[in-house]
Structure formats: structure tokens, C-alpha cells
């Protein structure tokens, strides 16, 4: 059983990750995959807001490592995967290609207008992945 959770360093993602860890604890032999996507649209600003390429990669690791540690402390077999590109497209591509059995994803809880302007990652992913999805509020 392969469970995946998509994270981005936000509070919602953390809640989603905790939920995914809980699921993995109840399913014997489950493997948890923590997916982080480096958003191409933010590449320029991320570079400008970090001191060096090294500090930038550290910042990204800091979004994934605590969750990885949390999962391992909970006795879950977990690993992390870094992807690059458009977050929703990359998550969909990865989940379908890797035949993930269950995806957990956080939701920013946007209203209709915000969703139109910002675009909802969870909605888009929900529509196009082949496996059951849990959206955590």
C-alpha cells in the first residue's frame, strides 16, 4: 500500500501530513511518500529571497524534513520526493505514474473568487488522479 502526501511548508500541508501518518499507522506494511514540488512560478522570487543556492535548498529541506521525522517517530516507513514544475500537474503525473494507492492533500480553504484568481491545487489534483484522495481542511 503506497500512501502519498503533498506538502508545501504551510499549516494546511502539515495537517494533511499528520492525517497521512495516521492512515499509514493503521495500515500494516504501508509506505508513506512525502511529495514536495518546487513551483516554477516561484523560482525567481525564491532565489532572490535566499542568500545563496545552498540556503535555498536548505529552506526547501526544512519544509519536508520535520514531517519525515514525525512520520518515522510514529513508526511509519516514510521517504521524501522532490519534484519541479507546476505543482498540480507534477503531483498528478507522479501519483499516476508511481501507482500511488492513496493521496492526502491539504486545502487552503479558498473562496470562489480566490480560487478563480489563485487556482486550487487540491481541486485540480482531485479531478485528475487515479486513486482515492483525502483533502484535509
Amino acid at each position: 500500500m503506497k500512501i502519498a502526501v503533498a506538502v508545501d511548508g504551510s499549516e494546511n500541508a502539515l495537517r494533511a501530513a499528520k492525517h497521512a501518518v495516521m492512515l499509514a499507522q493503521y495500515l500494516p506494511g504501508a509506505n508513506l511518500e512525502i511529495i514536495y514540488v518546487q513551483d516554477y512560478s516561484k523560482a525567481k522570487d525564491e532565489r532572490l529571497l535566499s542568500q545563496s543556492p545552498e540556503s535555498l535548498s536548505l529552506k526547501r529541506e526544512q519544509k519536508v524534513q520535520p514531517i519525515l521525522e514525525y512520520a518515522r517517530e510514529a513508526g511509519v516507513n516514510a521517504r521524501s520526493t522532490m519534484l519541479k514544475g507546476n505543482p498540480s500537474l507534477e503531483i498528478i503525473k507522479y501519483v499516476n505514474a508511481e501507482k500511488i494507492d492513496k493521496l492526502v492533500i491539504g486545502s487552503r480553504g479558498l473562496n470562489a473568487f480566490q480560487e478563480m484568481v489563485l487556482g486550487s491545487v487540491s481541486h485540480k489534483v482531485l479531478k485528475h488522479v487515479d486513486c482515492p484522495v483525502t483533502v484535509v481542511k
Binding site: 516554477y40 523560482a43 525567481k44 522570487d45 532565489r47 532572490l48 529571497l49 535566499s50 478563480m116 484568481v117
Partner: protein
Amino acid sequence: MHTFKQQWLGNVRADLLAGIVVGLALIPEALAFAFIVGVDPRVALYASFTIAVITSFVGGRPGLISAATGAMALVLVSLMANHGLQYVLAATILTGIIQLILGSLGVANLMRFIPNSVMLGFVNALGIMIFITQMPYLLGSSMMTYIFAVVTLILVYAVPRFFTAIPAPLIAIVVMTTVALLSGVKLQTIGDLGTMPSSLPMFFLPDIPLNLETLKIILPYSLALSVVGLLESLLTSQVLDDMTATPSNKNREARGQGIANFITGFFGGMAGCALIGQSVINIKSGGRGRLSTLTAGVFLIFLIIVLGDVVVKIPMPVLAGVMIMVSMTTFNWGSFKFLRQAPKSESIVMLITVAIILYTHNLAIGVVIGVILSALFFVAKISRVTVTKNAGVYRIKGPLFFASTTKFIQSFDDTAEKEIIIDFGDSQLWDESAVGAIFKVKQKLEAKGTDVTIRGLNASSEILYKKLL
């Protein structure tokens, strides 16, 4: 040879498609940059064509898109206004020579010394300046001008939500130009600025007197263009390195920028550099290899020659709308959070860089002063030395060098013990001043009858201490 083939033919289909998208994305901005400098649209379009094509061969970062840019355009404004196009072309050629020399000397290695606070200041000032250039044109003009500018702005932000295959600015331009033509409203158009190219650029020598007087005029501009062009190109290379997780040769990129500007000047084009926005579009569209940059340049000139008659009908307020969007995306909105979270010295460097650029209208001066300022802040920060005294043991914390020795010496002014130990376990001796300071303290204390023992020097400090004393 393997990498050569890889860089050109490793990604043919995606490179061709991405190159076409980028070619389309280059047009609106090239036209607008010509408008900023006050030159014929040809000067920017020819530049974008030649720079893109040349850097695709000689650049150091495959997939990087270089062309006429806003940053370079802003440097050229006053040269164009005071001396005219021929001097702009001459300055472009000289910029190429300077960048080629700097690239050969390994200028890219200095990029490490430009802190991100300075780069933030640079892009923020750039965004503000591009925004300001559009103001005199919009303020106090007709109602129709406002309506066209605002609708364009709405289109460039709304369209990408539904459709991303063609760059939104181009869609906005096509739609708004059609609306203007069908409704017959009277608006200033690109055609009012000058004629459109109907042929490929030709080689010619700029018509300027070759003397010291000319050099005096163009050299300051060429130096500024060199700094601005290299900074933006190397920054963009870094962003692309990160996006593609592949390294690139930054010094080759610097030389490539030089070669491109040098040749472009002879073909009637203005100086250019890498474009962050278009380079990111290229990577997002799947472009990775050199073929994508070449395709972008070739497709651009093909479109311009074929569509020249249509391009002259583009209303200026539409272009202004596009440029306002460009200024908004150039500005780094995360800077406000940066100001709250970053150390005070970094915030000050960023703000001063912005202030100097806006005051002098010179991006290069702002960057240079920003770098100097941050270097001084850095020295001040690391020159902090603390001395803690405990039962005759003086523990030194912090590096000892020319900037920190005064504080070190002062710490021993009121020593009254008969016997003291100075512990350097948490310190590092860097230079003659450090060894000199220790010697001075020892001498002074021993004259007062205090016995001084030095301990805890690390290996390299010990070597320096023994060598100099």
C-alpha cells in the same frame, strides 16, 4: 562533443515549441522597451533577434533567453535623449567589449559577493522604474487611453487562468488591437514611433567620430550597461540552474553576453541581456537546450517581417498595460516580508540600493554602492570581539583582525591580577594586526608586573603567531 550534441539536439521537439512561445512573448516587451528608450521599434526588435541567436551559440546557460531588456533600456534613456541613436549603438559595441574582457577575467566568480539584499534592491528599483516610465504617458491622457490600458491589464492577468498555451500579453495585444481597429477609436499607435522592419538587420558602422570625446560620452554608459547586463544575466542563469537542477558555465555566459552585444551594435540593435521572465517561460514550456533560444530569435524576426504592417497598428495604451504587468512581476512582493524578517543590515542595504537607483536613475551605481555597503556591514558584524573574564582567565570570542583589535586591546586596560591566562579557544588570528595586538597587550601587562600565558590558539593561528613573532 557529447554535451554539444546534448545541448542542441537533446530535446528537439520541446525546444522548438518552447522557442515559438518565447518568440511570441518577446515581441510585446521589445516594442515597449523601444518606447522607453525612445528609439525606433526596429532597434529593439533587431537587438532581440541578434542577441537571442548569438547567445544560443556562445552563451553558457542552455535555455537562457537573452534579448533587449527593460534594465538595459533604462540605462540607455538619457544617452538616447542627449546624443542620439548612433551613440546608443556605439555604447552597445563598447559594452560588448567590456563584458567580453570581464568574462575572460572570470567576473562571474564575483557574483558570490553580491548579496541577495542588493539583488532584491535591483529588481525592486527596476520594477518601480518601469512603472514610472509608463506614467507620463498615461497620466492626463484621454479616457479611451485609460480604458484600453486597464482592459489590457485585466486580460493579461485573467487569461492565464484559463489558457496558457500562448503568452497572455500577446493575446491581450491581438484582442485589443482588433477592438481598436474595428471600433475606429483614435489612439496613438506604434506606427507613430517609427517604421517597422521589413528586412533582416544589416551590418553597418555607427556614424560617430572616433575620438576621445566620443569615448568620454559612451564609456560611463557602457560600464553601467556591462554591470547591469551581467548582473541580470548571471542572476537569470542561477534561477535556471535551480529550475533545471543542472549547472552552467557563468563566465562563458558573461563572454557570450559580450559577444552578442558587440555584434548587435553593428547590426543596429541596442544593448541587451538575459530576460528573467522569458527564460522562466521557456523552461516552463519545456525548453531546455540551445535550440529553444535559437528558435525564439528566428521566430521573432520571422513574425516581425511577416506581420510588420499589423504591428504598427498596435495602440500604445495596450503596450503600456503590458508594461505595467511587467513592472508588477519584476517587483519582488516578498520584499515586504523580507524587510520584517531579515537582519536589519540586510534590510538597510536593500532599501538604500532602491533609493540610490531611484535617485540617480542608474541601476549600476545602486548595485555597486549596495555591494560596498553590505561588505562594510559584514566586516562590522564579524569584527565583534567579546572578552569574558573569570578568575584570571580571559576568554576571547570572535576573530581577531585589523578591524577588531582595538576592542581586544581595550579589554585589558584595567587588568590588576598578578597572573592571567588569555584563552583563544573560540577565536582565530587572521593577520599581522592580531599578532601585533597580542604582543602589545603582553608587553603592557608584563611592564605592570603581570604574568601572561597564551593558550588555546588553533593550528593556523598558532602558525601565524609563531611566524610573525
